[in-house]
């Protein structure tokens, strides 16, 4: 299931809504230090279900909500949507009539958190199942965040199993 589009608002440095359309082939993301490139990777991992705030560089999950800048006040909510292309009809039967499948995750400062599938509230479990069935969820080796290469190299041999386990 190919990624069609990523929509980010209120997540880390993306306080204003940003839409990335993903094409076939290779998409390069460039820009100066600190401009937000890795935050895009964090947004994708977060909407795919990442539960560990520290692996997103935060101390608590609230840290992913835009916290303010010199010119902007902090935001009350972070929302990321990942839109998949189902033109090839390979998604699970439940989605057979959808040309697009939209996965959305929201987090409010209150701690309240929502998951939505095609804008309908659902459980994290439903999203996890969708990702598992479509082979999209194998984040251990398909998402290599900044510093992960170093982690793999410095890891004890036992701490590298997860890469093979994810593919098995």
């Amino acid at each position: 299931m190919k990624i069609k589009r990523l929509e980010i608002i209120g997540f880390k440095s993306f306080v204003d809504k940003v839409v990335l359309d993903f094409q076939q082939g290779v998409t390069g993301v460039v820009g100066p230090n600190g401009c937000g490139k890795s935050n895009i990777v964090d947004a994708i991992r977060w909407v795919m279900g990442e539960q560990n705030a520290r692996s997103l560089r935060g101390k608590s999950m609230e840290d992913v909500i835009f916290g303010g800048s010199e010119t902007r006040k902090p935001h009350g909510m972070a929302e990321v949507s990942l839109i998949f292309d189902n033109e090839d009809g390979l998604a699970p039967p439940a989605f057979a009539e959808y040309a697009e499948i939209m996965v959305t995750r929201r987090l409010y400062r209150s701690g309240e958190s929502d998951y939505l599938l095609n804008k309908t509230p659902c459980r994290l479990l439903d999203i996890a199942e969708l990702f598992m069935d479509t082979g999209v969820g194998r984040r251990a080796y398909s998402i290599i965040e900044q510093g992960k290469i170093g982690f793999i190299l410095n890891a004890k041999p036992e701490d590298r199993r997860f890469l093979i386990e994810e593919a098995a």
């Binding site: 082939g25 998409t27 100066p32 230090n33 937000g36």
Partner: protein, 165 residues
């Protein structure tokens, strides 16, 4: 699952042994189980021999050689069980010109099957991409997206390698 782990490990190992010499333009490497009798707990060791050098554990390798070896492993797993997309955040940072060239070549090849999203500061990697997004912070602390034409990436914070001897 013990069986699946072993099968997957062996398939990945075969791929890894093919991909390493492609990225290194020679040499060889392989994965080894630290305890092949205990498939539930065993660790995974990596031994590697860049072209012309001695076969040993990866600890003595250079920063760039280590990184490229890890990339070979990631690509090997990816080719055994491809995902629809692959995100790589600055994995080319420690690589020299020649290695970046071979890395880019493999990414292009694999991108025929999967979508690749590559974050980079490297000009040659940018030249390899089909589409480029520039991320900027005109307003401090606020990220915006701009679409970058390949001939404009000069203004995108790019760093460019010069040819190696």
């Amino acid at each position: 699952t013990r069986k699946r782990f072993k099968e997957t490990f062996e398939q990945v190992n075969i791929k890894f042994q093919q991909i390493f010499p492609r990225l290194f333009h020679g040499g060889r490497a392989e994965l080894q189980l630290t305890d092949s009798d205990d498939l539930l707990e065993t660790g995974i060791d990596i031994i590697a021999q860049p072209p012309g050098k001695k076969l040993q554990g990866i600890n003595l390798l250079s920063g760039g050689e280590k990184a490229l070896t890890a990339v070979a492993l990631i690509f090997a797993i990816f080719q055994i069980k491809p995902s629809p997309f692959c995100l790589l955040d600055e994995v080319d940072a420690p690589l020299d010109e020649a290695n970046i060239g071979r890395f880019n070549e493999m990414v292009r090849e694999m991108s025929e099957i999967s979508q690749f999203i590559i974050i980079t500061h490297n000009k040659r990697t940018m030249e390899m991409a089909d589409t480029l997004y520039g991320v900027t912070m005109q307003e401090p602390g606020v990220s915006r997206l701009v679409s970058v034409k390949i001939n404009e990436f000069q203004e995108s914070g790019a760093r460019r390698p010069a040819p190696v001897a």
